[in-house]
Symmetry: C2
Subunit: 455 residues, 2 copies
């Protein structure tokens, strides 16, 4: 092992860091997992260096863990078995923007906000928006989505191709810059969502979209959760091409008020956004308004100016922090179920009733246009019994998602937190995943302890 | 081997057919491949029967080949090493239509037209349209697309989940009915486009789309290919949400005239379609008209009535036959390259010049909104030298696609015809595909001789 660190130091010089503070920084996550530091943190600057790191680790039997911005929520980037964390902070270049092809080629450490800043003058943008200013390599690895997936799809649909360093240090390219291809297994799709367990992404070719001519956003309140969820279902089924449609329950609305002085009613809300031509946006907004009012929507606030919209979505993106701040001294557990739209009302209402019965705060927000929502369960820190009750609530949410034909994770991924549900969700199919994993990483060194039970 | 056939006959009775005529029917393709019949043809009626067939074949070391409607173009469904062809004709039920979730669950033998007939009253439709009335299992297996992919995506984006019989007879389910998921490797995406080499699809959960309120289609002529292709590129980059945008060169237009009395000018044409609200379609059509006229478009013919549009697209779908009929006595070779939109003009023009120089007919049509086009090369049957020249033209098209950052197949797939390009297109990545194949089908019995070189 010390030979390996010597070799890594020879390769990277001071860009191999074994200090306790840096190891601990890379041993923490935004989830509730205990500190699990790696043995060292490497800061490569090229795919060649990543390949060399992986080869040295393979020879020494050291785990290799990818790190973008550390914003994943299921402990994806921590190091339960030690090893070397590959931090992509220094691989943060936008390599090419090809406006005619609506494609950008980026290194994995580029964040979504940095890419969109770079794109501003091109008339194009990269739409996937998980809230956090995550790295694009990390977003691909967790198959991230967020508020705009209802219109623009998830990372699955917005990655055209990848460069990947495999477990044995080989470097491959998947996909092309053509809009579609039918030449063999969809390796791009296999590595997107693989959470770094099959290889490390060292370059991404991303699909860009035209900045809409016109954008309009709105917030409205509903008398009850049934009304808000009913409006979502009717809106999606009406075929209005919503760019965003977000649910915020009354508890979360109160947290927004406390954090940002939003001045919202003490009621469930929908936050919506429309993209299109001027006429198109006006038509969409009018149709949505009709549907929402049929379900009792009141207090519409429109935001047509970019600045107002920026504030609105910043508030949504800070929901996690606002909800934490509103309930200080709690030890949060995030949840992330996703169900077919026809079962969304049951899923949200049963979850809300279950949380209410627990007596624990558990605000609900969600990308409900996709059938995806999160309850942030907030047991008191240090209260073991309440922690157990929160875990049981989360487990019942997962079971509910599966019973209703859905999935235990719409966008956060499996990481360390959800391997226990893989058998229940996938049945024997998870063994097919395990067979693919063994074929591509026979030594189980790529992000071990994540995604697959027992790996 | 005779034990295996006895066991299959015991399982299926007369639904195991070993007659020469049925074997030969299943040994032919629409491509230029010689007769390669299986040893027997099985007509299962359930996933359980498919699993039993696969188990019997696995024990006897017999290849297993899936068969939908036999319309694939690269010899996907023929049997170069004999074995048992599993013909899904009797698994042709639409099992569930869930309008609220915009989802249909179908058996693999359902054709796209049969599904759309069943959906007619629901206000929903399944958009993927490769021209042929192919089976949905076959379309998923080749990752088919066609005229509407520019708007609605390919099979990759329109399959939510699958039931698959693996090489060892295990039956797995992939995906859920929720619109998205982030729980492990995207097995759905792995089996879509796998051409039956990893398992047989026995059920599909498909994404449906709302039938547009308004539809309008048009044809217009251009003075030259440059104008037509330039208009396509400008249209795509303008962000007009085209539902279809198809290129037809002058040679193909002449074939349409001969076959259907289209009365088109002796010139390259674009065929387009717009989907949306009444106002949206009018706006799109107007914007497209402006762009097309900037590139010299003339002779617009609009088709707003469903019947007129039906005729128009039937003509496009019969292009292959029309072009064959216009050049009797030829031995056609289909091609299928796809390039980034910015390289489309070069790709089409170089190809056209290359064909012109060969002296051989080679009409070009294509789903150019995706950068995808086909030349139908028509060497004289029995003329070995001309056949060689046609093969060389096809090879140069493939090289051109790769040089321009594209792919050797936009939608037809690899089958037997394009394995020779896998190394050039994918480099070492095809060995990753081979590793996945070995992991899931160690005996190489699932559709051997297809997709991967040397398999």
């Amino acid at each position: 092992m010390s030979d390996a660190f010597a070799a890594l130091t020879e390769l990277l010089g001071p860009r191999l860091n074994r200090s306790q503070s840096d190891r601990e920084t890379h041993g923490r996550s935004e989830g509730h997992f205990p500190l699990m530091p790696p043995d060292a943190v490497a800061y490569p600057e090229s795919a060649e260096e990543v390949a060399a790191i992986v080869k040295i680790c393979a020879e020494a039997g050291l785990p290799v863990i990818g790190w973008g911005t550390g914003t994943s929520l299921e402990g994806h980037s921590i190091a339960p078995r030690g090893g070397v964390t590959v931090d992509f902070t220094r691989m943060d270049k936008v390599l090419q923007v090809l406006p005619e092809d609506m494609v950008a080629v980026v290194q994995p450490g580029v964040t979504r906000e940095a890419l969109n800043t770079e794109l501003r003058a091109t008339g194009l943008f990269f739409p996937v928006d998980p809230g956090a200013n995550a790295s694009l390599g990390g977003m691909a690895s967790t198959r991230a989505s967020g508020t705009t997936a209802v219109r623009y799809g998830t990372m699955r649909g917005n990655v055209l191709g990848l460069e990947v360093v495999l477990a044995d240090g080989r470097v491959i390219r998947t996909g092309t810059r053509a809009p579609k291809s039918s030449t063999g297994y969809d390796l791009t799709g296999l590595f997107v969502g693989a959470e770094g367990t099959l290889g490390l992404i060292t370059e991404l070719t991303l699909k860009l979209h035209g900045q809409p001519e016109a954008v309009s956003a709105a917030v409205c309140a509903f008398a009850d959760m049934e009304g808000a969820v009913g409006a979502v279902i009717a809106t999606i089924q009406s075929g209005i091409p919503m760019a965003r449609i977000e649910f915020v329950d009354a508890v979360a609305a109160a947290a927004f008020n406390a954090q940002s002085g939003a001045g919202w009613a003490d009621a469930p809300h929908l936050m919506v956004e429309f993209h299109g031509s001027d006429a198109g946006v006006a038509e969409q907004a009018e149709r949505f308004g009709e549907i929402a009012r049929d379900f009792g929507a009141e207090g519409f606030r429109w935001a047509s100016l970019a600045e107002e919209r920026g504030k609105l979505w910043a508030m949504r993106h800070n929901a996690y922090r606002a909800m934490m701040a509103a309930h200080p001294g709690s030890a949060p557990i995030t949840t992330d179920i996703c169900v077919p739209i026809s079962r969304l009302a049951e899923a949200v209402e049963e979850t809300a009733a279950d949380i209410a019965e627990s007596g624990m705060p558990g605000p609900i927000v969600g990308h409900v246009g996709d059938g995806n929502f999160h309850a942030l369960l907030l047991p008191r820190a240090g209260d073991a019994a309440e922690w157990e009750r929160a875990q049981a609530l989360a487990a019942r949410m997962a079971e509910r998602a599966l019973r209703l034909g859905g999935t235990v994770s719409g966008e956060h991924g499996i990481g360390m937190g959800k391997t226990k549900y893989m058998q229940a969700e996938h049945g024997e199919a998870w063994q097919v995943m395990a067979a693919v994993k063994s074929a591509l990483d026979p030594g189980n060194l790529m992000n071990p302890g994540k995604l697959l039970p027992g790996n």
